[in-house]
Symmetry: C2
Amino acid sequence: MKITIIGSGNVATYFAIAFKSKGYNIAQVYSPHILLANELAERVQATPCSAIEEISPDSDFYLIAINDDALKSFSEKFRVKDKIVMHTSGFHEINVLKNVSLNYGVFYPLQTLNKNISLPTEPFPICIEASDDETLKKIKELAYSIDGDVHIILSQRRKVLHVAAVFANNFSNHLYSLAEKILKKENISFGLLRPLIKSTAENVMHRSPSEVQTGPAKRGDEEILKAHLEILKDDPELKTIYELISSGIRKNVHNS
Amino acid sequence: MKITIIGSGNVATYFAIAFKSKGYNIAQVYSPHILLANELAERVQATPCSAIEEISPDSDFYLIAINDDALKSFSEKFRVKDKIVMHTSGFHEINVLKNVSLNYGVFYPLQTLNKNISLPTEPFPICIEASDDETLKKIKELAYSIDGDVHIILSQRRKVLHVAAVFANNFSNHLYSLAEKILKKENISFGLLRPLIKSTAENVMHRSPSEVQTGPAKRGDEEILKAHLEILKDDPELKTIYELISSGIRKNVHNS
């Protein structure tokens, strides 16, 4: 089985290595930046290329793992007859690939992948979708073969899942940044918060987050809420987020 | 060494068990609710009591682990001559205890503790403060003896740390709740997000959150931001939080 990887970023790197480690042959790695193509190609013993017309049409699968805003223009330029072409975007509909091949699909990893940090070793969801049943079967087998937790999720629902992932991942991380910013003013190390951050995530591994919510907003402790806003008063962003999220937590208490 | 535990909630339970497991004698457990006092007292072979005047004055340490809004009124009623009395609040100043004993301090666990979920087994910061050097030394030894990561942090800075902890813990957890709410409408299981939530926390264990920030707001992908707001348009809370945090992430990009 031959796979061509389109892209050289975090998602491309993760899957190229995962496929290679399961015995797949990575035929080519494409990136418009030849140095990046070289780097990943070398890791998975593939041929690098940086021009779309150099991408060989005889792989079994083509995995497109490029930025969301580059996907459309790439899809307008790339053509293979009937080999399976998949994109990895949480956002774009499957149909963005409809003119690329007769057989196409989606291979969306619901995980944060960063090639500079250690790659995840535990299974995570791979959300798949395909142009037809036969292609779906093949994509499903591919996802299982790299130990994916496979879910069939169509484009409209995947988009909603993607929004939820932005809250759970990007937005949580921004809150960590804000916590770091608050500490910086007092020269307190962010490291002090790390055990708390880890436990906060672990607490929802077997429970619903609304069940484990704690804190002054949850308890309705007005004295603390007021004092915290006083501490944040010189930073409108922090103050607004504090008020907004606290009132959201309060509302949940009253609705439950 | 004898320790009396004031309270029967999450923090009281954690410390009572931690002290007991290190060989301390837990003399009494006080709670105004005798059934709760009984329950914890039984776990640590202590005597339960539910009236402040029944609290025996001959323990070496008194750990007050009650709700922030109950701490002041308790401190007005409780008196011991010179035994070490500590509170566990991130918010209240050390001075709230100044009339309780000649020797007093703070023993603030920077961790989320929930007696109904498994208690943390890895070390976490215990932020301490004391009325005098001799008391500080004794409190420090106590914290080290239960494998605490001990930090001396005075009241004003502890208050700031507490605000940061609210962002990192309470507010992150609320974002998980919002993600769950988004998924519910489409009947998608929150479980799909769990590996992502775990990795999001793990990614900041050795890095700064601003270094590992990702997502459409970070990339400035206007098409996705617009489409996400369209998906959230019927829920003003979700929409406002999406806009506010996205613009915060954008601002960080431009400032860095």
